[in-house]
């Protein structure tokens, strides 16, 4: 036998299992939750993930996408560690799903003791890619990224950058900026993006890398100023804010994925059911409208195994980032 046929042979059972899985999932497409579904949010109330979860909940209810309600539950402890551990312990449970932040990757990497392996979780669907901008208080005299870098360099450790927990998205992006420009700031962690935004307006910190939704209210009131968007394209809400590539740093691009995942060993029928529910949410007018108004990318729907592949790639990327910052070995 040549190598190719061996490969083919080896693939046979895989194909068989896959087609069986497809068949069973089709046959059991009628699976429905028998009680309200716990909708775990791995962050505190008022932040981006929280708002999205509650919006999804309402879209599901309003359009009758599910016979049972989804009940959002916040488990913000320890940069999502509480939520991850909770989901891990719910192994085999068909009535719990979770909306993620990037701490989905970083928290288990930083806490091996937690005993959480995200590759065992059941991937459902990627709902959005949230974007980041660099913000200062509008009373500041900083107007461009160059101004910013100069100011921060002269202030050094006296410059206070606010963000979410250590090792989470905001701090990683801060780390990227530090490595890129060779400055070092004092990073102050807060429980949620909303609180970070408020502390910038109250001048308790000097800059933030908030998501658009967290700052939009203040931005519209003229209280905060975005300097640069860490995205490949300009954002609709901020047509005048240049992208990082436009100011000469195309590598400064960072997204936060918002995906729905189930616990390990969720049944294939339940997985198929949730993929169906959330793809309907994703394609709904309400969801797409929310993405457009809040500066979030919701162009591409990823589900099931595609999402698992994406998770693996993102996990590897975050591992590099964390190593680069010396947060893990």
């Amino acid at each position: 036998m040549n190598l190719r046929s061996i490969k083919k042979l080896a693939l046979m059972p895989v194909i068989a299992v896959c087609s069986l899985a497809v068949m069973t999932s089709a046959a059991f497409a009628q699976w429905e939750p028998k009680k309200p579904v716990e909708f775990i949010i791995m962050a505190g109330t008022g932040g981006g993930a929280d708002q999205m979860a509650r919006l999804m909940q309402s879209i599901i209810q309003k359009n009758n996408f599910s016979s049972q309600p989804f009940i959002p539950i916040n488990k913000p402890g320890g940069s999502g560690a509480e939520a991850l551990r909770y989901l891990q312990d719910k192994s085999g449970d068909d009535h719990v799903v979770m909306i993620t932040l990037n701490s989905f990757y970083t928290t288990p990497l930083q806490n091996p003791d937690l005993g959480v392996d995200i590759s065992t979780f059941t991937p459902i669907g990627r709902m959005a890619l949230d974007t980041f901008l660099l913000w200062v208080n509008s009373d500041s005299d900083i107007n461009t990224l160059d101004d910013y870098v100069m100011q921060v360099k002269s202030k050094g450790k006296d410059w206070k950058m606010g963000g979410t927990g250590q090792g989470q998205e905001d701090s990683l992006l801060t780390g990227m900026l530090q490595n890129k420009f060779g400055f070092e700031v004092t990073y102050v962690p807060f429980p949620g993006g909303g609180t970070v935004a408020k502390n910038l307006i109250g001048k308790h910190i000097d800059s933030t890398v908030n998501n658009p939704s967290e700052q939009l209210g203040f931005y519209e009131a003229g209280q905060s100023r975005p300097l640069v968007a860490f995205t490949p394209d300009r954002l609709e809400q901020f047509p005048d804010v240049p992208t990082s590539a436009e100011v000469g740093h195309p590598d400064l691009v960072y997204f936060m994925q918002r995906s729905i995942n189930g616990p390990p060993e969720m049944s294939a029928e339940a997985q198929a059911y949730y993929i169906d529910v959330f793809s309907k949410v994703f394609n709904s007018e309400d969801w797409q409208g929310f993405c457009a108004s809040d500066g979030i990318f919701c162009n591409e729907w990823l589900a099931g195994d595609d999402l698992a592949t994406y998770h693996q790639a993102e996990k590897a990327k975050h591992e590099e980032l964390l190593k680069g910052m010396g947060l893990i070995n």
Binding site: D113, V188, P191
Partner: protein, 508 residues
């Protein structure tokens, strides 16, 4: 006057038949949600949120705000009648509400709760109406340092709470702080104090678990022991004359109610504080400032009025950062905030400008909801009081079941139910040894908030402790905290001297 015009417009919005009906419905639902142990305004509002997509946003927020409001009143009912806090905001109400009920003065306590809530709610909605923008600016001035100072103030109000035995009070606070530290570290995410490696400790020890354990289970044990199962509560029938009498009694607490209103409101508008710390602080302040601090915890009407006034004031207060800054001041407002985003409204500094009919409709409805809830509350008092006609041998098992259900409902984890039982027994024993238990409850509420604020401040200032006294606002609050510790100490010494003098006179 511009504000007056807008407010009249708001009243007009609030009293359209649909909105008025929704508001009344919301108040009644809230009342019952609040009265059920384990179900608080958070659950009530979260469960009802999807219902509100059927009506316009203004009607929706009026309905949900009424539920929130009603629940604040309702929490007091089970605190007073059964001795179990109906919601975390009503824990301090148990301290004096329960003893009053045992003395046959449950109706007085309920009137005090209703009237206090009404005054607190009304004062804070007036403050909201007149000073929303400057108050929002004030809330912004609160950085981590100020939050830490505020927490110190809260602890200071409680030093005097344990009575004369300061070492035992400190011990009780320390136990509460240790429990508060259980779970995952807020900043690094590392597990702390996971006893016996039980996964249930990862979400920390919920404050309500401790409170239900102490005041539900512990109280049953205590009552059974002291009464040998024969509790006799003589309750006069509730007549108009009793109401008048209650009002007369309450008049002596006017100052307490007024100061609790302002305190509750200001704590409420600070993001991340909310009504529970507000009610505990109000209780502590009322006791510290009272002429007869010893009578607190034994059925002082001011001890019911203060926390109830403050929690209603704070719940209105927490709507201010929600509307003007888009930041929830309490867990319930976080859900309301989510609702507003779904309804297509963007909370933030421009909401007043962009959606005046929404904001003023809400404010108008708050005035009405206040009036409405106080009326139904007083009307329902005879019904609530009749609970006490049941013999304690019947009541005790019912309370026990409510405690277990109330402990299980929020996290749906048997782990918490076992904790409630263990806490109930342990704190019953501590109480027998004369340890004050209220400071432990306070510590578990404020512990995490304090820790976070302290660590944020120190990280931001790179370990410089002087930051707390260098910032004028935080220095002022810390100064007040020091005063609050020193004042009762002096008072206590005088009191002791007086007592000794009296004892000498009696020739004892």
């Amino acid at each position: 006057m511009e504000i007056l015009d807008a407010l009249l417009q708001g009243f007009a919005t609030a009293i359209t038949p649909q909105n008025l009906l929704l508001m009344m419905l919301g108040c009644v639902i809230g009342l019952f949600v609040g009265a059920m142990p384990g179900l608080g305004s958070v659950n009530g509002v979260a469960i009802l949120l999807p219902v509100t997509f059927l009506v316009p946003p203004t009607a929706a927020i009026i309905f949900l705000a009424a539920v929130y409001y009603g629940a604040m009143y309702g929490g007091a009912i089970s605190s007073i009648m059964l001795g179990i806090p109906g919601a975390s905001t009503a824990v301090a109400t148990v301290f004096d509400g329960r003893p009053m009920a045992m003395q046959g003065k449950a109706d007085f306590a309920l009137v005090a709760a209703a009237v206090g809530s009404f005054v607190g709610g009304t004062i804070s909605v007036i403050l909201f109406t007149l000073f929303a923008p400057p108050l929002a600016d004030f809330a912004l001035k609160f950085g981590p340092q100020e939050e830490f100072a505020l927490m110190m103030l809260a602890f200071a109000t409680f030093i005097g709470l344990g009575g004369d035995d300061i070492p035992k009070t400190l011990f009780s606070i320390a136990i509460g702080l240790v429990f508060a530290a259980v779970g995952l570290d807020e900043i690094s995410g590392r597990p702390r104090l996971i006893f016996f490696d039980l996964p249930g400790f990862y979400h920390g020890i919920n404050f309500l678990v401790l409170a239900i354990g102490i005041y539900g289970i512990g109280e049953i044990l205590w009552t059974l022991e002291t009464s040998q199962g024969e509790v006799k509560v003589s309750q006069a029938s509730f007549t108009a004359k009793r109401v008048l009498e209650a009002f007369k009694k309450l008049k002596q607490s006017t100052l307490t109610i007024l100061s609790s209103s302002f305190l509750g409101y200001f704590v409420g508008i600070l993001p991340a504080a909310g009504a529970t710390p507000a009610s505990l602080m109000a209780y502590g302040v009322a006791k510290t400032m009272a002429k007869d601090p010893d009578s607190f915890g034994k059925g002082n009407i001011a001890g019911v009025a203060a926390p109830e006034t403050a929690n209603n004031a704070a719940s209105t207060g927490s709507m201010l950062p929600m509307i003007t800054l888009g930041i929830p001041g309490s867990p319930t407002t976080a859900i309301l905030l989510g609702g507003m985003i779904i309804w297509g409204l963007r909370p933030g500094p421009l909401l007043f400008v962009n959606n005046p009919e929404f904001v003023w409709g809400l404010i108008g409805s708050l005035y009405m909801a206040n009036l409405f809830t106080v009326i139904i509350n007083i009307a329902f008092i005879p019904l609530f009081v009749s609970v006490l006609k049941l013999s304690f041998t019947i009541l005790a098992p019912i309370i026990f079941v409510l405690c277990i259900v109330g402990g299980y409902a929020p996290t749906q984890d048997m782990h918490d139910v076992w904790l409630i039982v263990i806490f109930g027994v342990v704190f019953y024993l501590l109480r027998k040894l004369n340890y004050p238990v209220a400071p432990a409850v306070l510590a578990i509420v404020l512990g995490p908030l304090t820790e976070r604020a302290l660590r944020q401040s120190l990280v931001a200032e790179r370990g410089d402790v002087m930051t707390f006294v260098e910032r004028p606002l935080s220095a002022t609050i810390l100064f007040l905290a020091v005063l609050l510790i020193v004042l009762p100490a002096i008072k206590m010494m005088r009191h002791r001297k007086k007592r000794e003098a009296a004892a000498e006179q009696d020739g004892l």
